[in-house]
Symmetry: C2
Subunit: 357 residues, 2 copies
């Protein structure tokens, strides 16, 4: 196993210690249980944005804690949901009196645990809402998911909602923004190689020297098809066109109903992208693919969005939601309006994403 680690059991704690040593100005790591909050403590009067999920997708989510983005993050073991306990403690530590919005990627364990954590926090008198992200158009119902998986949109949503929280959006308005952004975003990924979790020591899946996996998830879950490696132009065209031509998708996602005081299923249908839409384009590395290759992807993607009459107004290119050292990439296109663009442009200051001040 070719990794820069000590004992597999110590990987998460030691990497968190490294983050703490490197970014004491931005964040504070709690070790029992694991969660990360902003260095300055809760932000009074602002809705606290909390996210979390299995480790191995760095810099998500701990690397996105800081001004203009998350207030807290809960790292699970590698590719494993964090526990309700972690999420509950993070909510308590991050709440500044205006409530907590949990941004939850759609994996069965994450969804279930964030629901339990929300209930625990509500029992403490904290107002909490959960919004589930499910933007991966590749597959419905997979190894870890009922419905579509939550992937690249999560990064863009954490940035935009983080700025909205700084701007003073209340919990209802922020939840509505988060929900809309999820409906506005679509993603698809692919892999050239597998990855190795430290605990297991073996590749998550086998793939031939001349093969690639299209539609892969961020845990190496199977995608749509296994194929011979194609050119970056062919791969990019296939993914981009699939995203743009994706049909309206209807999902039922659970949210807390503050009137009924219970979880309710909200049926949401998104509209496909159409000519004239403004989008944020996000080309992501799965971890092992260098940024140079992402520019090859971006080149073709921009030609295709142009052909379909989409206008890329902002972009993000780099390793922001990874699968350890997996080689591959994902593309996310998210429709945005002028307010969302303004929120995107707002200052952000975290270990993983930084601009303005």
């Amino acid at each position: 196993m070719k990794k820069l680690i000590n004992k597999p059991d110590d990987v998460i704690r030691e990497q968190l210690e490294g983050m703490q040593a490197a970014h004491a100005d931005l964040l504070k790591v709690n070790y029992e249980p694991f969660y990360i909050t902003r260095a300055g403590g809760p932000v009074k009067g602002k809705v606290a944005l909390v996210s979390g999920g299995g480790s191995g997708h760095e810099p998500m989510h701990g690397g996105f804690v800081g001004h203009g983005m998350l207030h807290a993050a809960c790292p699970g073991e590698v590719f494993t949901s964090p526990t309700p306990d972690q999420m509950h403690e993070a909510a308590k530590a991050a709440d500044g009196g205006a409530g907590v919005l949990n941004i939850v990627k759609n994996y069965t364990g994450d969804v279930m645990n964030f629901e339990m954590a929300a209930e625990l926090a509500m029992a403490d008198g904290i107002k909490v809402q959960n919004i589930v992200i499910d933007d991966d158009i590749a597959v419905k119902d997979s190894l870890y998911t009922a419905g579509r998986r939550g992937v690249g949109s999560t990064v863009l949503i954490e940035k935009i909602c983080g700025a909205a929280s700084e701007k003073g959006y209340d919990l209802e308005k922020l939840s509505a923004l988060c929900r809309t952004l999820n409906q506005n975003g679509r993603s698809m990924g692919m892999a050239l190689t597998s990855c190795i979790t430290p605990g297991n020591g073996e590749p998550s899946f086998e793939i031939g020297d001349d093969e690639m996996e299209i539609g892969i998830g961020i845990h190496g879950e199977p995608g749509i098809k296994r194929d011979k490696i194609k050119s970056v132009d062919e791969i990019t065209e296939m993914m981009t066109v699939s995203i743009i031509e994706d049909k309206p998708y209807t999902r039922k996602l659970k949210e807390w109903d503050f009137g009924k005081n219970e979880w309710v299923e909200r049926e949401l249908t998104d509209e496909p992208l159409k000519k004239g839409d403004k989008v944020i384009a996000f080309v992501n590395s799965m971890g092992g693919t260098p940024v140079s290759e992402l520019y090859g992807v971006y080149r073709k993607m921009a030609q295709i969005t142009d052909k379909f009459g989409l206008k890329i107004v902002r972009n993000l290119i780099g390793p922001y939601i990874t699968s350890l050292e997996m080689q591959g990439c994902s593309i996310t296109l998210m429709k945005v309006d002028d307010e969302m663009i303004k929120l995107w442009d707002a200052p952000v200051y975290t270990p993983g994403l930084k601009w303005g001040k």
Copy 2:
């Protein structure tokens, strides 16, 4: 060959097209010959900072073109020096009337070609100085180099000198700063895997499944020793202690003498790091190592610098000077004074490095 590319011959051009499409607000790509300048044209009255080298080390150098860092960059073919022609054209395009400082990594081809380019630009009436970076303590005289190789310090120097140029340093003062920073910086790298250049299609070197290479260069040049993979703590300790305990190093580097109007060798001896020194600590991914593992390196490195009484005042963690998809890392420690820290903190706005505005 598992890469997101089309034809190997088109890789550089297409990736540059992708950069241009993504960052038209920041930079402008020239295609015949290849060079990248700032989108806004030359900056009047400020010394133009120009760098370049073989491609494959992204985001260096093209990704560092923009406000607060480089004015122009020349990408060669993968792991191959750019030509004097590229460097000459870049100097002409970037010069804002206050001269050009070429930041040159110490590889035989780069040094020779930047000297020729400087002479060509001087023949055009542009004032040019070349400062050579040679911070890699691992080996002296290697596959591509006479003397020590130029590696991680280059990134830190381009940031700090970029800020100094914005601040109005003239060519002499900026050259002196660049020279001092080079003497102040020391680096060492290691690799877990090889990398594959698109043109060749085969790994640059062979390495066993249980082996690592210590002291490797950014082109996969051999290092100090081949060893069984050790723990991240052992690897980090070995590299960090080597950097800190490095003996005074004397090199002769050619610079232009504006009085004599010729190249002269300047003998420079640096002082080892000592207790109480303030340093910028840079933990770099060779491309294929994910940021999570870099935090494991940072953790141990910070413990060791602490033990030696060094004070890490700033840090940089991520893939900033890479070797395609190679797995591995490098550590750079650079002694800085308060003025250098201020320049480090100054706004930078490039595709690869961004903060403030």
